[in-house]
Each structure stands twice: as structure tokens, then as C-alpha cells.
Amino acid sequence: MRLAIVLVTVALVLGAPLIGPSMPSGAEAFIFWQLRVPRVLVAAAAGAVLSVIGAAFQALFENPLATPSTTGTTAGAALGALIAILFLPGQAAVMIGAFVGALLVSLPVAAWAARAEARVQDVLLGGVALTLAAGAISSGLQMTADAEEALRAVRWSLGSVGQVGYAGAAVLGPIAVAVIAVVLAHSRGLQALVAGEARAASQGVDVAALRAQVLVAGSLGVGAVVAWCGPIAFVGLAVPHLVRKLVGPGREDLFWLSAVAGAGFLVGADVVARVLISGRELPVGVVTSAIGAPLLVGLVLRPRR
């Protein structure tokens, strides 16, 4: 099953650029190399980052529902991007705004979480509070914006991997590699957390350092993805749970498999977004939500064994 996940992802990444509406003659090379290939690369990097961070946060917070969305990271990024859309000119400002917003929310949470006496529930609660506060401010800003700006903000908030191009891929790629490397380096510590922080600490895990490093890496990664692609919902939540369903319980392979499966998941979702309605493109966030939301409901309603 592990091999199957790897193969499906490889097939999706290699095959995705070939799928799409028939291309006008003369423009094939341009569409293929300048639009589809970078788009698939960005989707793969973003999906891998979101999924590996989702798996790591679920382990870190001892909570199956923890994702960057529940620790305030996504909301901070969204607020930063919104402020940029409303008050600053240019697409670059949106990315910088999202990145700064993600870090402004996440780093205090990470700094607090790194303190030895911080309890994991408090960190999660703080993240939820920040998420709600950022969401309220965002709504207020949208209400005061004019119609065109508000529409731009809504478009962005649905998530897309289409407008990023090689420039985005060149930034996202190295960040993705770094974030995944940090999480995989802490893979064994995250495994030990399965029986609680106290026991892991008694087994030699430096829990405060683990928390701080994974949270900072997660903030960087999510900040970058949100900045370039918008808040793509449910990937970080859904993919680790899908991996568990496919390979069985346990964390030994969870983190690297989540990265691989996440890349395949978002590339696949983006293909669906491009071809589902002919001639029009759905925001990829809509597709991931359409898959992720029922999955989440199913997980919550699943009978306990």
C-alpha cells in the first residue's frame, strides 16, 4: 500500500500536465511548459507541505482535528492577504501580506508553546481564539471594502495553484523541501508523543524544542502556501487521515507518506478543478473542500471500536 501511494502520486504528477482541454494549435508548447508544468509543481509542493504539517500538528497537539487552520496560522495569513488586497497595490503585496500575517499569528503561539509549562490544550485554544479574532476582523474589512476589492478577496480566499508560475515554484519548492525535512527529522519524537508529552519527555524527547521547531516550520510552510495559493482548505486535515485509513494505524510511516500522498492529492484535485466544468475553472479549494468536508464528517460520526 505504501508503494501504491508513491506510484499513484508519481503517475498523477507526471500525467497531470497532459490532461486538460484541447490546446489551440501553435500554443501547445507555451501552455504545456509555461502554464501546466509549473502549476503541477506548485500543487505538488503545496499539497506535500500542507499534508505533512497537518500530520505533524495532529501528533503535536494530540488531537486528530489539529491543522494549521486550528492553530491560527491560516487565519493570520488570510487576514494579512486581505489587508494587502484592500490597501496595497500589486500581487506581490498580497503574498507578502499573507506571509507576514501567518508568522505574526504563529510565532507568538510557537513561542508560547515552546515554554516548558505550556499545556497543549492551551496552545490549541489560543490558536482557535486567534482564528476567530482574525476571521472577525477579515469579515469587518470585507464589509467595508468596495465590490471589486471584495470579489478579489473572495477569489483569493478560495485558493488556486494556477497563477503562481515558475517564480512561485522556485520559492515554494525549497520551502517545501525544508519544511518536510524538519518534520521528518522529528519523526521519531512525534511518534513518541503518541503516549503523551510527559512520557515522551521521560524517554528522552526534548519536547519544548520539538514543539517550537515543528511549529515554526509549520508556520513558514503554511504561510508560504497561503501567500502564493490562498488558503486551500482541508488538505492538511484530510490527507493524514486518508493515509491512516490506507496503511493502518501508527506513525512510523505517517509523515513521509502524508507528504507524498498530499502532493498527489492536490495535483489530482487541481486536475478535477480544471476539467470538471468544460471551459471554466473551479478554485481548487472548492474541490479539496468538497472531498475533505464529507471525510471529516465521516470521521466524526464513525462508530467507536
Binding site: 501528533a59 494530540e62 488531537n63 486528530p64 516548558a116 509549562e117 521519531r188 519524537g189 511518534q191 513518541a192 508523543l193 503518541v194 503516549a195 503523551g196 510527559a198 512520557r199 515522551a200 519527555a201 521521560s202 524517554q203 528522552g204 524527547v205 526534548d206 491512516r244 494505524p249 501508527g250 506513525r251 512510523e252
Partner: protein
């Protein structure tokens, strides 16, 4: 012997733990020699669990804890895990996990590959007699099986001194005795034990008379060390009874004598 043999001596000086206004541990001095066995007794809320957690650095505490001559704080997390291992009262899992993976987490301090880690985990499970459960999900095991799997993780850690928090509570009498026999065998093999229990007679059941004279009994009352005795002391029932607020006596049970509770005071 590994390097930690030299630091197995555990000392605590003026250990004090507060929770808001309440004082949970009120200036405890404690020295545990290498290869010693001590049982910690006391009424509910006397500070037994807090003492173990403070010794492990899991709660903010005033005072000093040293492993050998080295202050706890100047050792790295892995070095501390080499010196002291811990068995908490209960096992709370964040998600389903196979027993072998849980036991392998005890190997965290070793830099070894996954195959070596799994082999060591299965060896540890075999020592406790639960290697047959390696592939089972921990939450599907019975309470006794689960406790012995948790004990396997402690074995896998290979620490010199074990801090055990009621290792046999909630278990049936046969399993209780098996767990204590296993622990005492570890002590005989050179491992130090600091063991919180409500039932010191369990220990008496599995040691010889000579060994009972070596087992220390430490009584906690309102966060203070109120009793220091040996398991073989003639006046142990009176002293223990006073500490626990019950009437106790020695009862002759054929080949051995038992610590018996007569009733409330």
C-alpha cells in the same frame, strides 16, 4: 556497565512543588542509592505522584535534583532518559497504535535504525512475556496486557533507575504478583526502583526475608517525608497505620507474615 551506572544515585534536596496557593510537595529530601529499592506510600493527595513527576522534571519544582553528582538540569534529555525511566499510572494514547511501535518509542534515546529498534522492542516484550501482542493494537488489549506492554517500553529504554507510579493498581491479583515479581527480578539484576504503591504487602509477597530488610519504605504525608522505615521493621504496621490512618498489624499466613489492615481508626 554503561556510563549511567555511575550516576544512578538519585538525590533530591528541598524539593518543593506549588500549584497556585497549595503546596503539593513541601521540602522533600531524598537519597536513593544505586541498586536500592524503595516503596513510597501515603494517603491520596499526599504527594506521591507529584514526587515522581518532580524528580523527572515534569512539573516546575524548587530545590535540587541530581543524578550522581550531576544536577539534573545540566544533563541532556537523552542522558536523563538513560539514567531514569518512568511508568506513569495510566497509559493514555492519542490514537490507535500497535504495541511494538509503542514499545519502540522507549528506544528514542538510542540512535539506531528502524529494524534494530523493532528487534530491541520485541526482545523487551519477550522479557516481560508479551511478545505475542507485538502486532496488536494497544487499546484492544486487557488492562493487565496493556500494563505489561507499557512495562516493555520501560525495559526497552534501558534506564538504570525506574520510577513506577502504582504499577499494579487496577490489575487482578495474579497479574499484580507477576508484575511485582518482574520488578523485583529487575532489582536483583541491579536496577534501582522507586515504587509508589497503596499496597506494600504486595512487595512483601515477592521478596525473601533478607531482601525485605533492604527494601526501604518512604511515607509521604501532606507533601512531607513523614516515615522512613524498612519493610521488615517490627513496628512497621503501627507506623504505616498512623500514616495511612488505619489500624494495621502483622498477620501470620503459614510460611510468611503479611501486612494486614484491621480497619479504619
Amino acid at each position: 556497565m554503561a556510563w549511567y551506572a555511575a550516576v544512578m544515585l538519585l538525590t533530591a534536596r528541598q524539593l518543593r512543588v506549588r500549584a497556585g496557593e497549595r503546596v503539593l510537595l513541601d521540602g522533600v529530601d531524598l537519597t536513593l542509592g544505586a541498586e536500592e529499592c524503595a516503596v513510597v506510600v501515603g494517603r491520596n493527595g499526599a504527594g506521591k505522584t507529584t514526587l515522581l513527576r518532580a524528580l523527572l522534571g515534569l512539573v516546575p519544582a524548587e530545590g535540587e535534583v541530581a543524578l550522581g553528582s550531576i544536577p539534573r538540569g545540566s544533563l541532556g534529555p537523552r542522558e536523563r532518559a538513560a539514567a531514569v525511566g518512568w511508568l506513569p499510572q495510566s497509559l493514555n494514547l492519542a490514537e490507535p497504535v500497535r504495541a511494538v511501535e509503542l514499545v519502540a518509542a522507549g528506544r528514542f534515546r538510542f540512535g539506531e535504525g528502524r529494524r534494530a529498534r523493532h528487534e530491541a522492542a520485541v526482545r523487551s516484550m519477550a522479557e516481560v512475556g508479551v511478545e505475542g501482542f507485538a502486532e496488536r493494537l494497544v487499546h484492544t488489549l486487557s488492562g493487565g496486557e496493556r500494563q505489561r506492554v507499557a512495562l516493555s517500553a520501560l525495559v526497552a529504554q534501558e534506564a538504570g533507575l525506574w520510577l513506577l507510579d502504582e504499577p499494579a493498581s487496577h490489575l487482578d491479583p495474579g497479574v499484580q504478583e507477576r508484575v511485582y515479581r518482574f520488578l523485583v527480578d529487575q532489582w536483583r539484576g541491579g536496577r534501582g526502583l522507586l515504587l509508589v504503591t497503596h499496597d506494600p504487602d504486595l512487595m512483601l509477597r515477592v521478596v525473601s526475608r533478607e531482601e525485605a530488610a533492604k527494601v526501604r519504605v518512604l511515607g509521604l504525608s501532606e507533601g512531607r517525608l513523614a516515615l522512613e522505615a524498612r519493610l521488615s521493621d517490627e513496628d512497621l504496621p503501627e507506623k504505616l497505620g498512623e500514616l495511612l490512618d488505619v489500624r494495621m498489624c502483622w498477620a501470620e499466613l503459614g510460611e510468611r507474615r503479611a501486612l494486614a489492615v484491621l480497619g479504619a481508626r
